[in-house]
Symmetry: C2
Subunit: 271 residues, 2 copies
């Protein structure tokens, strides 16, 4: 999916919601365990119940890998099931030397056919660039994450800039706002101003609203740009909103609540 | 496998060789493509031919993931086939927020039952610590990698220390030399002195000898400690040494050449 198509979807749906498909076999409703592929059944029902409310789905690969090759099959079925007008994110946080990153890029952007994949920047240029060679596909590079451990290295400062700022600046030599987005956690909304100075036109994938404590309106106040420029993710708050037979209805209600708030926040932009 | 068992294996085999099982469907001998699982058949023959010469095997997960769930099955069969007295490394370079890293840790150290997994440090403490909670299992944390892109961020300097040094120092609060190793590329052997000042007793996993240009004797000169403290990896130089029916013999010859050099370099240590 290219940038204009993504913007169009945001306008049509009045939503910049991304739903994290972090299906955990220990947390999904018990009645699904009787199904042949409980993880896929869970995702299918979540997708059916929310696909008109979100513009992106983001399965986190960890949850599938923890089930071995069977989990990888559930991931394959899930990505095939997601409607083609919805942006897909493999939240994989990969990154390795050039020839290996090429294999990961092939795994996610070709074999599995995701629109995008999250990539960790620590290994630098040749670990990221092989992911940028696919038409209308995207790298979503970790910049400032939403977790506590982000403090350990991402604010490391050489007196002129912090590490996450250096990552943003350096990566502009590798890609552009049509093939490169950034992960910026919602837990530090004031830093979005600083980030928008460096990457004014780029889309930002924003985790940390909800369970991790970030505020949607604060994120929009400092982070929204003329194209919206945000994909705000919610995982646990939506997919585990209910635990019984009606879990998909509960997920829809949670997603609808966020989408309604987003429609208001998008008002100015949509004119 | 615990630290003493690993040291014992190094002494018994007079080797600190790690073989990277980066089986690429486009590079393995053509006659294997007739097998039901060519990747596993390739690995099996490489393992049979080299298991007395190395102390560790390191499959890089990218190569398996690029084949989807079928590749993941080949990985499962490969790890099951490796003899139990050989140290196993999932070269996965994972790392995510705490609850997600926990899933990855479970995938590699429990479900697949690897002895260790490589982890990227960018997301900090809570992205690494869930991997440290398994008895006699290891995290191998990226410190200074062997690729060109390492220059982009790993030498970022605050005037007192460089990022890779900060990673080494900070991580000593999370684990110790009995559950934490580091990736240090062979391409900058002089930096091993600096690294040994910070982590004198830790094992280092050293890629970059061979195809990437690093020198084994230089690495040992600056990086070896009283327990050896090194696992030197070779992937392409061994597994693709031959391309025909005799590929496993060629792989053995390449591995044997390195092992003989290692036996000499270990002489002083072994007494």
């Amino acid at each position: 999916m290219n940038k204009q198509e993504l913007i169009n979807q945001i306008k049509i749906k009045k939503s910049f919601l991304c739903i994290g498909l972090d299906a955990d076999i220990d947390k999904i409703p018990k009645h699904l365990l009787e199904e042949e592929d409980p993880i896929f059944e869970f995702n299918k029902k979540i997708i059916d119940a929310t696909k008109d409310l979100c513009v992106a789905y983001k399965p986190n690969t960890a949850f599938y890998e923890s089930l071995g090759s069977k989990g990888w099959e559930s991931l394959e079925k899930t990505i095939d099931y997601i409607p083609k007008d919805i942006f897909t994110i493999a939240d994989a946080k990969r990154g390795d030397i050039g020839n290996t990153s090429k294999m990961y890029a092939n795994a996610f952007l070709n074999t599995l056919n995701f629109d995008s994949v999250t990539v960790a920047p620590y290994m630098g240029s040749d670990s990221v660039m092989p992911f940028l060679e696919f038409e209308d596909k995207w790298v979503i590079l970790l910049a400032l994450t939403s977790n506590k451990g982000a403090d350990d290295f991402q604010f490391f400062n050489n007196g002129k800039e912090q590490l996450f700022e250096k990552v943003l600046k350096q990566s502009k030599n590798w890609g552009n706002d049509k093939n490169l987005m950034y992960v910026v956690g919602a837990t530090r909304p004031e830093i979005f101003t600083e980030i928008r100075n460096i990457v004014p036109d780029s889309f930002l994938l924003v985790p940390g609203v909800g369970a991790q404590g970030g505020s949607l309106s604060e994120v929009c106040k400092y982070g929204m740009n003329k194209d919206c420029g945000l994909l705000v993710n919610s995982s646990r708050g939506i997919i585990y909103a209910g635990k019984d037979q009606n879990f998909a209805d509960s997920a829809r209600n949670s997603a609808l609540e966020i989408q309604k708030e987003m429609a208001i926040l998008l008002k100015e932009l949509l004119g």
